[in-house]
């Protein structure tokens, strides 16, 4: 025997279900508001780019910079400074910042862990080790990102295998394994540095400290190509990232093929990180801090989070790089060192409060 079965009330007949969803309680993150906030950050980009073009060892007037931008074919000191010296560097800062922001947001969503980023999961460390090995072996510069991709993906794979299921302490293990891998990679990089000779070792050290000085338009081209491929692949996984926010079992229960999705996300993230590491060395904390700021702005939905992380990361790194080349001018502070000064207090603050991913 079973209990009495109440008659089914069709949803359509339910009085309060007649009104569309949008007309009921206001949404926490209405789309209009999210797009508005993303637009505001996007409009910051030309402002900070213009500012970065103006300041430096020789200051340029805004009018001169705009004139140079509008007339790129003219010859002159301002044109040379804007188009040959500062612009490639600023575009690379935009790419690196955007890329690291996107990679950090994707990793945090994938692992459902607010404390992970390409640096902490060992992806940056693996990419740096492979790139350093490539440099010291005299590999062509264009192949460095491919080597970095291999190293980054290898570390990502180890972390993913360790955190293969959502067992107890799975998230803690991700961080522990990532930190251990980073330490190992760092130790091997030191070994490479010691055997790199006085000149090779120093230039490698400067690259590892993080920075995008001395880059040309050619560097911008191949970095954009690798980065574009990685970000495009990541964008195909936004729905998977959203479903994985519910947990791997829940996502699988709704029909997601979890393992292929996880590997696609990891490979895409490794590609993006590799492009960034190859061009700028190890720039930590961008991938950690930026997704948190972006999440505050637009919420955790991967579609908006990746977009906002790219925009916020681009703005942050352009500002940081401008500071790196101006605060101690004519000397330059490595970008990675500068960001560590901001990033470490942020990380410590983060560990003291629970953050939903």
């Amino acid at each position: 025997m079973i209990g009495p079965r109440p008659a089914f009330q069709p949803a359509d007949a339910h009085p309060s279900s007649a009104a569309p969803l949008d007309e009921r309680a206001p949404a926490k993150h209405p789309i209009a508001s999210r797009s508005g906030k993303a637009t505001i950050v996007a409009t910051l980009i030309p402002v900070v780019v213009l500012f970065a073009l103006c300041v430096g060892s020789s200051h340029l007037q805004v009018g001169a910079v705009i004139h140079s931008l509008v007339h790129p074919g003219e010859r002159g000191i301002a044109q040379t400074i804007v188009w040959q010296l500062r612009m490639p560097r600023i575009v690379l800062a935009l790419l690196v910042g955007g890329g690291l922001g996107v990679a950090g947001a994707a990793l945090q969503s994938l692992f459902r862990n607010a404390l992970v980023d390409p640096y902490i999961t060992g992806v940056s460390g693996g990419a740096a080790l492979a790139a350093a090995a490539g440099f010291s072996l005299g590999a062509p510069f264009v192949l460095i990102p491919a080597a970095a991709f291999g190293g980054g993906l290898a570390c990502a794979a180890i972390v993913a295998l360790v955190a293969g299921n959502e067992a107890a302490n799975g998230n803690l293990r991700i961080v522990l394994v990532g930190v251990a891998l980073s330490a190992l990679c760092s130790a091997v990089v030191t070994l490479v540095l010691l055997h790199g000779g006085p000149n090779g070792g120093l230039s490698l050290l400067a690259w590892l400290a993080g920075g995008i000085n001395g880059r040309s338009w050619a560097d911008v081209g191949w970095c954009a190509a690798y980065l574009g491929a990685g970000v495009a692949a990541l964008l195909t996984q936004v729905h998977a990232l959203n479903a994985l926010r519910l947990g791997t079992v829940a996502a699988a229960g709704f029909g997601l093929r979890v393992e292929p999705a996880r590997w696609k996300i990891l490979a895409s993230t490794a590609t993006v990180t590799a492009a960034c590491v190859a061009v700028s060395g190890v720039v930590g904390f961008v991938g950690l801090m930026v997704p948190h700021a972006a999440r505050k702005l637009v919420g955790g939905d991967a579609r908006w989070l990746l977009t906002a992380s790219a925009l916020c990361g681009a703005v942050l790194v352009v500002i940081a790089d401008t500071a790196a080349r101006t605060v101690m001018a004519p000397a330059e502070v490595p970008l990675g060192v500068l960001l560590a000064f901001v990033g470490i207090p942020f990380f410590l603050w983060l560990t003291r409060r629970p953050v939903a991913v």
Partner: protein, 257 residues
């Protein structure tokens, strides 16, 4: 314990929504269950009971296709969704978001916004789970029972015809347990097939059409009064249980002796 067969002998001719044959699951060489056959008729509410560690969650995962069995075959003759309500969704999500994420698994990647037909499905699913007034509240503001119903609405929005629910009444007080089980009873009443794992034997007898008892690696299926006997429960749970019919409604009440 009788061998597993079609769940309800009287309804063996019912169309089947989900069938598992000769299923076997083992972890690190430890056999959990083997040679398990189960056939869930469409529109049935089935309670899966058994002691802790007997493999209830594993069986649900295998039936949902989330976990591969060591051997055996699962025939999903309907669209199946697995719900694990103990998993807390991120607190900033609303029931609408939750259902949207569940639906987006099947969506093309370039379809970033919710298509109108999915929006209608979500509205209808939220209505069926009585969440229309809480549709845009973040999860952290919902009660535990409402969160469980949000999971169910998400599964319904995906056009699931068979819901496999792992312990829908976990962490719920008696009122919310009744609320959830009544909702599931209503959904089964309008044609949905539901398999839920439960620990409360009396609630299982009160609400389910059929009981599947998984114990000692074997599955026994049938009507509640055939499965919930003192002998079978004593063997399964290794504890003495007294059963007697409810004086008014007739369902089996199970009390540990």
């Amino acid at each position: 314990m009788k061998p597993a067969a079609a769940l309800h002998p009287a309804e063996a001719s019912h169309p089947i929504a989900l069938r598992g044959q000769r299923l076997r699951v083992a972890y690190d060489g430890r056999l959990v269950f083997h040679e398990v056959d189960i056939a869930i008729p469409r529109g049935h509410l089935v309670a899966l009971i058994g002691p802790n560690g007997s493999g209830k969650s594993s069986l649900l995962r295998v039936l949902a296709g989330v976990q591969k069995p060591a051997s055996g075959v699962v025939d999903a003759l309907s669209r199946v969704a697995l719900i694990v309500p103990a998993d807390a969704p991120p607190g900033d999500l609303t029931p609408t978001d939750l259902a949207g994420y569940a639906c987006s698994v099947k969506r093309k990647w370039w379809q970033w916004s919710l298509p109108p037909h999915e929006r209608r499905l979500i509205e209808r699913a939220l209505g069926r789970c009585r969440l229309e007034d809480r549709a845009n509240e973040p999860v952290w503001r919902l009660s535990a029972g409402e969160v469980q119903r949000a999971w169910m609405a998400a599964a319904l929005a995906c056009s699931a015809e068979t819901l496999l629910i792992d312990e829908p009444t976990t962490h719920l007080d008696l009122r919310f347990q009744m609320e959830i089980l009544r909702t599931l009873r209503e959904l089964a009443g309008c044609g949905l097939t539901i398999v839920m794992s439960l620990h409360d034997l009396t609630l299982a007898a009160r609400f389910a059409d059929s009981i599947a008892l998984l114990a000692g690696g074997q599955l026994s299926c049938g009507a509640p009064q055939h499965i919930l006997t003192e002998d079978s429960l004593a063997r399964a749970f290794d504890v003495s249980v007294t059963t007697f019919p409810h004086p008014a409604q007739g369902y089996t009440i199970c009390v540990p002796s």
